[in-house]
């Protein structure tokens, strides 16, 4: 039988660049992203026996990374999440004149993403950039699927508003 640990290690490394990019968007500082990713892999190797073969390794790694981030790196852990003031019922008021096609640059997008509360940014990156299924995002973020959906909804609304603000100068 092949070395299962060696297989896991090899497969885990396939996700290194995606994890690093995610870490950079969480910490916003390359040295912190380096530390965070390294700690993520050390933990994954340490707890490899807890990984169930056949389940999604990539989701497991993202989950470890985010938990590690919340434990060690999150600087604004004690700040309240800045929910946008409108309630759910305001969705129909979303500005139809602010289509995303007007996104000026990728840089605006990075900036706007960086300004989102971490819960919103993480949900959106996992859903739209990493392509995880809703159930996987719920597992990574340790919240129910309904919470994931509401975070996605709010994240998109905030993001559109920010991008429209940049466009307006």
């Amino acid at each position: 039988m092949a070395e299962p640990f060696a297989d896991l290690q090899r497969e885990a490394l396939l996700h290194l660049d995606a994890l690093y990019s995610f870490a950079l968007r969480l910490t916003k500082r390359p040295p912190d992203a380096d530390d965070l990713v390294q700690e993520t892999y050390l933990r994954a190797f340490r707890f490899a026996h807890r990984f169930e073969p056949g389940t999604h390794l990539r989701a497991w790694l993202f989950q470890i990374l985010r938990n590690t981030f919340l434990t060690f790196y999150r600087r604004d852990a004690h700040q309240p999440v800045l929910f946008d003031q409108e309630g759910e019922g305001a969705e129909d008021a979303a500005d139809p004149d602010a289509p995303v096609a007007a996104v000026a640059t990728a840089l605006d997008l990075e900036r706007a993403l960086g300004e989102l509360p971490e819960e919103f940014r993480t949900a959106l990156l996992l859903a739209d950039l990493e392509g995880f299924a809703l159930a996987e995002i719920a597992q990574i973020m340790d919240v129910p699927v309904g919470t994931v959906k509401s975070r996605l909804f709010r994240a998109r609304r905030l993001l559109r508003r920010r991008l429209a603000d940049y466009r307006a100068g």
């Binding site: 290194l16 690093y20 950079l24 390359p30 040295p31 990713v37 390294q38 050390l42 739209d128």
Partner: protein, 260 residues
């Protein structure tokens, strides 16, 4: 036929192909007759399409290597653990594995001032790379004046750029606890190079690891995949951090060394 509220509740699943075929058909039927829900779906699609274009930032070769080494150490550890005698040594190894790469990266316990400067310079260069696109065109003279006011370091005019060397930014900074002036330039329209100028007086010129580039012998290091060239000239020590290839690095070094 489901109403708008119900459709919006499951639109996320629908877009992601996570609905059962029956439910998906119901959503489709509703979308066909409801411009508002169609619009909402199109907006989410469009935003997702833009987010998918976000670039991947690759991990540095050094980080990759450190993780591979940690994994190899673990594999060895697991084998040794099968013998009871190896357990104590294994416990010590866990601690070493957890700490050593971190120390290697951050600490410079050797205290070598040039090595410390280089490691800090690479970190700062990467930070600058991340931020630099935020800045519009800057006037070099004004940037140099601001740097001088804050650091007492006068950046030579050569850093204002030239025909194939575009000035990007200059800023005061702190590397390895030394005040430094950073000048950022783009060479031959390619990647961005950062020069750090620091007062030279208590900085040595190492004897080892020096390379001959025409009549000069700068100190050369590669850290995290970046080429670092260090030399002293006049009252200043210079550190150039770049991801240009070897021959472009040498050309750019020569050009700047002669212009300073």
């Amino acid at each position: 036929m489901p109403d708008c509220q119900h459709v919006r509740d499951i639109l996320e699943e629908y877009r992601r192909g996570e609905l059962a075929p029956d439910a998906a058909r119901q959503v489709e039927a509703h979308l066909a007759g409801c411009p508002a829900c169609r619009d909402r779906r199109a907006q989410d699609e469009a935003l997702a399409a833009v987010i998918r274009t976000l670039p991947v930032t690759p991990a540095s070769p050094t980080l990759r290597r450190r993780i591979q080494e940690a994994g190899r150490g673990r594999a060895g550890l697991r084998r040794r653990l099968r013998t009871p005698a190896g357990a104590a040594a294994a416990a010590a190894l866990v601690v070493a594995l957890a700490l050593s790469p971190w120390l290697q990266f951050h600490g410079e316990p050797s205290g070598d001032p040039v090595e410390s400067l280089i490691v800090a310079g690479v970190t700062e260069h990467r930070r600058i790379l991340l931020q630099i696109q935020d800045e519009g065109a800057t006037d070099p003279e004004r940037a140099f004046a601001r740097v001088y006011a804050l650091t007492d370091i006068e950046l030579p005019r050569a850093f204002a750029g030239g025909p194939d060397l575009r000035f990007v930014a200059a800023r005061p900074t702190l590397i390895a606890n030394r005040k430094a002036a950073a000048a950022v330039l783009s060479f031959e329209s390619r990647s961005v190079t950062t020069y750090f100028a620091v007062p030279a007086k208590d900085l040595p010129m190492p004897a080892e690891r020096r390379v001959q580039i025409e009549q000069y012998r700068p100190y050369l290091r590669e850290v995290d995949g970046f080429r670092c060239v260090y030399w002293k000239q006049g009252d200043l020590a210079y550190l150039m951090v770049t991801d240009l290839d070897d021959s472009a690095t040498r050309r750019l070094f020569l050009r700047m060394r002669r212009a300073l």
